[in-house]
Symmetry: C2
Subunit: 692 residues, 2 copies
C-alpha cells in the first residue's frame, strides 16, 4: 500500500488561505464542500477573520485543536514552506498546495519547491503540488479543488477514476466524462509533483476496490519504477489503465518540457513500457472516454476473435477494415455453420461479417439466432452488433434489446458492443442491460481492441520475475571491442570467435587457420573503427599481412595517442540476416533492451522494439514479432528462416546482462548480430560505461 | 454536365408498385412526399386500385398522360425490365429501381440486371439501382426512398450532400449527420449500379452551386475515369469531397466483393488517386461528419502553418502531437513577438502552442491580444483555440465570443476552430459566428488537417494535362530484357548500355572493352533470369568466357524450348541507391505509375508511391518525397545524395510511356533503377504486354 492510502478519505480538512469569497481560489473548495455537505471536519485558516463562509476561522494551523489530517495550502509561494512544516508538526498526513510560482517560473521558484520536497522527505508528510488544481472524492463529497468545473457539473460517483499531471487538462477530461454520462469516483491532479507523482496516484487508485477503471494523463513520468509497480497492481486487480502520455512529437515534447520543466524521455520507450505492463495508450481524450465507458460491464475478452453482425453489408466492411488496423481477428464462421445460416436466410452473408440484411425488419429473431450461432459455432471472444438508427425506433429497439438480453445471458464471459443511433433513453436501457453502445462503428472497434488488449494483459499476468545473473564487475577503464566481447561471452552471449594479432606475422598465421577473415583495429580508445580506416572484410592469407599493416598505420594516423593492441581477427560469417540487439539505461525506466533489423531499418525506418529489461526469451520473441521487418527473419524474399529461438534467447540474455549491471552501463550494443538458420552470432559489440 | 443533371429536380414522379400501405417499400416514398408536400406531380401506378394513399392510381405507366420524368420501380425483379422499357417509351429521363434480386443474388439476377443496363444504353434513360434505397432532395421535398430514417428525422436542407453506394450505410451517414445538426441537401444511393455509378453522382453534386461539401461512400469504383472527372469538377468549384472508400483490409475487401459482386482494386491505388485529385479519404464516419461540419465557413487555409492558443498547457502539447501526426506545421512565433507577449503576461507560454494560462479568467482580453499577435506576427494560416468548459460558462463564453468575433473580422481568410465543452445553445452561437467547435481537441486537429489539405488542393488546381508522346507500337510477341530496354531507351528513359554476345568469344571481347561487367541470359522466353541461373555480376575479361558458357548451358537446362539470343552484357555501375520505377494498368484507374526503394522496402515494408499516369516531373518528385525510405536518397547514413531531379524525370517519362501505350501494356518495370549522385540509370527492364 502506498502511504497515500488515506489521501482520499480524510477525517478533516484545514484550508490555509481560506477565503470568504466563494469565487476565489481559497474560497472555492470551501464553498464546494459546504454546499455538497462534506461530512468531515472543515477548518478554515485565516488570521484576519473570525469566520469564513459561515465557519469558525482559525488564525493558524497550530491554533486548531488536536491532530490534523488533510491540509490545503492556498497562500503565496514564499509563505508555503512554513505552512507545510506547521502541517507536519500537527501530524497531518497530506498537504495539498494550490499555490503557483514554483519550479514552473524559474530558479527562485525551483529553490522554494526543493525546500517543500525536503520537508516532505524529512517529516514524512505527503505533499501534492504545488501548482496543483486539486482532487475530489465524489462519494464523500470531499472537494479540495478550485476548478470551476465543479460548479457547472456536480461529480456523480462511478467506477472510473482520473489521475492527471495537468490540472487544466485533467479538468477537461473530467468535464468531458461528466457530459458523456460517466461517473467519476476519484479525481487527482498532481501539478508540479514536488513529492507525489502521478504514478503514485495511479497506484493509489489501482489498490482500491471501488475503482474499476483508471484514466491517466501525463506529460512526463518522474519515477518509472513506481509507474511499473502501479500498473502491475492494476493488472493483478484487473483494473484497466487507459493512459494518455503526451509530448510524442518534437513540438509537443518541447512544449511539455517548458511546461513541466522535466525531460520527457524517449517516446518509443514509454510506448513499449506501457504496453508491456498492460496499460492501453490513447492519443485522444475521446478514445480514453470510449474505452472507460466500454469497460463498464467489466468483461475483458479472452482472445482477439471478433464476430461482426450487421444489418448493413457496408458497415461490416468498414468494421472489418478497422478491426484489421487493430490486429483483431475477424475469422470466418465454420463452413457448415455458414451453410445452416444460408438455409435460414438465403440472402444473408454468413461468413463474418455476418449480414442479416434488411430482412431484419421482417424477422427480428434473425438477430438472436445468428448471434447464438456466432457464439456457439464461431466461438468468437466478443461481438459487435451494428443496428444503426433502427435500434432507436421504439417498435424495433425494445424487442431487439429483449432478444439480445435473452441470448447473452448464457454467455456471461462474452462482450457485445453495439453501434446504434438512438436517443439517450434507449441508450440508457442498453447500458443497463450491460450493452455499451456507440454511434460510430470505428469507435466501437477501437474500444473493443482496447478491451481485448486488457483481457490478454490480465490473462498474461505479471511477467515472471527473472533472477539476475551474478556477474563479475566490469573491467576498469573504457572497454574496447575485444573486452566487450569477452565480457558478453562470459555472460552467455553468442560471440564470434576472435583472436588478437599484434603483428602482421601473427595475422597471417591466424588467417591461414581461420580461412577468409574480418580484421579490425584492436584499441580501447577507438570506438569508431570504420572511420579510423580500421576494418577489412574478406581478408585471405595472401592479403593478411598488408591488411594488418594498413590498419595499424591508419589507426596511428587517425588517433596518435590511442593505445593499440593490434588487430582483432574473426572468421567471416556468411549468410543470415543482420540484427541489432542492444540495451541502455533510460532516465525514466532504467535498463531497457532493444532489438531491430540493422542499418536502414533502424536508422531510417525507426523499426525498433523496446522493453524494460530484463525480459524472458518468450517476451523477446514478441519483440521480434512486432518488427515491421520481421518477415525478413521468417523467410521473406527466399531467405532461409532464421533461428528465432536462438535470437530471442540472445536478446533475453543481453537484457539480463544490462539489468544486472544496472547503473554501471550507459549502453551495450551487439551490432550486428547475424541471425542464421541455426543459431545467431554477434560479430561486434560495444559497451559504454556510465560516467560516475 | 452529366446527363443526370435533372435527376434531383424532376417535374413529376411515377411510382410503379405504389402501395396504399405507407409502411411498405412501395408505400413509403409516396407517404413521405404526400406528408412533406412535394410540389411536383405524383402518379401512383397500381393496376389493382383506383386510388393509392388518396391519390388517383394508374393501371400502368403508359396510362399516364404525356411524358414522364422520374419513374420509381418497386415491383419484383422479373417484372422490372418491362417497366424500364415502358418508362423509356414515355420519355422518362430517370428510372430508379428499389427491387432487389439482381446481381447480388447470382447468375440469374445478373442476367436480369444486364438486361436493365442494355435498355438504359439503348434508350438513353438513366437508371439508378437496382437494389437501391433511393435518394432525396430536402429542398423540394422530393423523397424517392423507402428508408425509414425519413420518418424519424425529417431532412433539413443544408450545404452538405451525400453520395453512397451502400443504401443502409448511406442511411446511417444521413442519420448521424441529422443527429449532429448537419443539414443534408441531396442524398443519393446507387445500390447495384446497373447504369449510374456513385462516381457520376459525385460529379452531379460537384456541378451544383447549392452543394458546398460532398460526403461519399463506396466499396468499389466501377468507372475510375468518371471519378477523376468528378473530383476535378469539385476541385474547380472549390467543393471539398470527403471520401470513405471501404474494403481496405483483406477481410473487408472480401466482404465488399461478396457484397457488391465487384472487385475492389488495389487499395493503395485508391488512396493515391483520391489524394492526387484533391479528395480527403476518411476511415471513420465521425471524421467525415467532423470535416463536413468544419467546412461550413468555407475557409480553406492557404498553407499548413497552424497556431494553437490554449488555456491549458497540456492541451497544447496534446494538439501539437496530433498536428505532427498530420504533417501540420506548428511553427514557433517570431522571437521578438514572443518577448512582447511575455511582457503582457510573464507566465504565458508564447512560443506556439501559446498558453494564456488561468490568467484568462482574470483578463479575457488576453485572448484577442494574443490571437491578433499570432495572426499578424506569427502569420499562421489557421488557428485552433482551446477553451474547454469555460467557453460554456455564460459569464465567460459570451464575452469570449464577442472578442473572437471582433478580432477575426479583419482576417476573413483565416480559419479558426474551437475546442469547448458547452451546451447546444452556446455551440450554436459560435457556429453562427462562423466558428466551428469540437469537444475533442484531436478531432479539431484532424478536421483542420483536412481543411488545409483542401486549401492546398484548390490552390494547386487541376494537374497540367501532359501531351502524350507519339510512340511507335510495341514490337510483336513477348519482349525480352533487350527489347524492353531498347523500347524504353527510345522513349527517352536512361538505360544502361548493353551489348549482345552470341558466343563466348564475343563476350570476352565486349568485357575487355567495358571493364567489369554484368552478364545476363538474353531470351524473350526467360523472364526470371536469376532463377534460370542466368545472371553473373562483376565478370572480368578473364572469367568472361566461362561465365558466358555457364549461363547459356544453365538456361538451356532450365528452359529447353526457350529461344536463346546469347548473353546481354552491361558495364557494372557502382555506387548509388537502387530504386524500382514501374507502371501498370489498373482495372479501375487505367495506367498508374509507381516508385519505391528496392527489395525489402517494396516487398516487406510496402513503401511504394502510386499516381495515376501520366505525371509531371514535379508530381514525380512528390512521389519520391512521400516514401518513408526517402532519406536514403537524400544523404542518410553518409550516402551522397542522389540526383532526385533526374529520378523524377525518369518516373515522369515512364508514366508518359505507360499512358501512351494504354491498354497495350499490362505492366512495365525498371528494376533496379540506380539513383546516382548525377543522373540515374535503369539496369534492367521488363515489359509485360496485355493479353488481348
Amino acid at each position: 500500500m502506498t502511504t497515500l492510502a488515506d489521501l482520499l478519505e480524510p477525517r478533516s480538512i484545514a484550508i490555509v488561505g481560506a477565503s470568504d469569497d466563494p469565487t476565489r481560489i481559497g474560497g472555492r473548495p470551501l464553498s464546494h464542500m459546504i454546499n455538497q455537505h462534506f461530512d468531515g471536519g472543515i477548518y478554515p485558516v485565516n488570521p484576519r477573520r473570525d469566520t469564513v463562509q459561515g465557519l469558525r476561522a482559525y488564525p493558524s494551523l497550530t491554533a486548531i485543536d488536536g491532530d490534523l489530517d488533510f491540509v490545503l495550502v492556498a497562500v503565496p509561494a514564499p509563505l508555503v514552506a512554513e505552512q507545510v512544516r506547521a502541517a507536519a508538526s500537527k501530524n497531518a498526513r497530506t498537504v495539498m498546495i494550490f499555490s503557483s510560482g514554483f519550479a514552473e517560473t524559474g530558479a527562485e521558484g525551483t529553490a522554494m519547491q526543493d525546500e517543500v520536497t525536503r520537508i516532505a522527505r524529512e517529516t514524512g508528510v505527503r505533499v501534492i503540488g504545488p501548482n496543483c488544481l486539486g482532487a475530489f472524492n465524489s462519494e464523500t463529497r470531499f472537494y479540495p479543488t478550485f476548478t470551476s468545473t465543479i460548479d457547472r457539473a456536480t461529480p456523480q460517483p462511478g467506477g472510473i477514476s482520473i489521475a492527471s499531471q495537468s490540472g487544466a487538462y485533467g479538468s477537461h477530461i473530467y468535464m468531458a466524462s461528466h457530459m458523456a454520462g460517466l461517473g467519476i469516483r476519484y479525481w487527482l491532479t498532481t501539478g508540479n509533483e514536488a513529492d507525489v507523482h502521478v504514478a503514485e496516484c495511479i497506484r493509489l487508485l489501482a489498490e482500491r476496490d471501488d475503482v474499476h477503471c483508471i484514466m491517466a494523463y501525463a506529460e512526463s513520468i518522474k519515477d518509472g519504477a513506481m509507474l511499473v509497480d502501479a500498473l502491475e497492481v492494476a493488472r493483478v486487480n484487473r483494473t484497466p489503465v487507459i493512459f494518455m502520455k503526451v509530448g510524442r512529437s518534437e513540438v509537443g515534447a518541447q512544449a511539455a518540457s517548458s511546461h513541466t520543466a522535466s525531460l520527457a524521455g524517449e517516446d518509443a520507450i514509454y510506448d513499449a513500457v506501457l504496453r508491456q505492463h498492460g496499460a492501453w495508450r490513447v492519443k485522444s481524450t475521446e478514445e480514453m472516454l470510449d474505452i472507460a465507458y466500454a469497460c463498464r460491464p467489466r468483461i475483458y475478452p479472452a482472445g482477439k476473435r471478433l464476430g461482426l453482425v450487421t444489418i448493413s453489408g457496408g458497415a461490416g466492411v468498414l468494421m472489418a477494415d478497422a478491426a484489421e488496423d487493430h490486429g483483431l481477428d475477424v475469422a470466418p464462421m465454420p463452413e457448415d455453420a455458414q451453410a445452416e445460416m444460408k438455409e435460414i436466410l438465403p440472402f444473408a452473408a454468413p461468413r463474418n461479417p455476418v449480414d442479416v440484411t434488411a430482412q431484419f425488419f421482417n424477422d427480428l429473431t434473425l438477430v438472436p439466432r445468428f448471434t447464438k450461432a456466432m457464439l456457439d459455432r464461431g466461438g468468437y471472444d466478443a461481438l459487435i452488433g451494428f443496428w444503426t438508427s433502427v435500434a432507436g425506433s421504439p417498435l424495433l429497439g425494445t424487442p431487439l434489446l429483449g432478444h439480445l438480453t435473452e441470448t447473452m445471458k448464457d454467455y456471461r464471459d462474452r462482450l457485445i458492443l453495439h453501434v446504434m443511433l438512438t436517443d439517450d433513453e434507449m441508450k440508457r436501457r442498453y447500458d443497463e442491460a450491460g450493452f455499451p453502445s456507440f454511434e460510430d462503428p470505428t469507435r466501437a472497434i477501437t474500444a473493443m481492441a482496447a478491451l481485448m488488449f486488457f483481457g490478454e494483459a490480465f490473462a498474461n499476468g505479471t511477467p515472471d520475475v527473472l533472477d539476475l545473473p551474478d556477474l563479475p564487475p566490469l573491467p576498469g577503464g573504457p572497454l574496447g571491442e575485444r573486452e566487450a566481447k569477452a565480457v558478453l561471452a562470459a555472460a552467455g552471449l553468442p560471440m564470434v570467435e576472435d583472436r588478437l594479432a599484434a603483428t602482421a606475422e601473427e595475422a597471417v598465421a591466424i588467417a591461414r587457420q581461420m580461412g577468409p577473415v574480418a580484421m579490425k583495429i584492436a584499441s580501447p580508445d577507438i570506438l569508431h573503427k570504420t572511420e579510423a580506416g580500421g576494418v577489412r572484410l574478406g581478408v585471405t592469407t595472401g592479403t593478411a599481412a598488408a591488411a594488418c599493416d594498413e590498419i595499424m598505420a591508419g589507426a596511428r594516423a587517425y588517433a596518435p595517442k590511442a593505445r593499440i593492441d593490434g588487430v582483432l581477427i574473426s572468421p567471416m560469417v556468411t549468410g543470415g540476416t543482420d540484427v541489432i540487439v542492444g540495451a541502455k539505461t533510460d532516465p525514466v525506466f532504467g535498463p531497457v533492451v532493444m532489438a531491430g533489423l540493422g542499418g536502414v531499418f533502424t536508422e531510417v525506418m525507426k523499426d525498433i522494439a523496446f522493453r524494460r529489461a530484463p525480459v524472458s526469451a518468450a517476451t523477446a520473441r514478441g519483440m521480434i514479432d512486432e518488427l515491421k521487418g520481421a518477415p525478413l527473419l521468417k523467410g521473406a524474399r527466399g531467405q532461409p528462416p532464421a533461428d528465432l529461438g536462438a535470437l530471442a534467447e540472445a536478446i533475453s540474455r543481453l537484457s539480463l546482462f544490462a539489468a544486472a549491471h544496472g547503473d554501471a552501463i550507459e549502453s551495450v550494443e551487439m551490432n550486428p548480430v547475424r541471425a542464421l538458420p541455426g543459431g545467431c552470432l554477434a560479430l561486434d559489440a560495444l559497451i559504454i560505461k556510465r560516467e560516475v
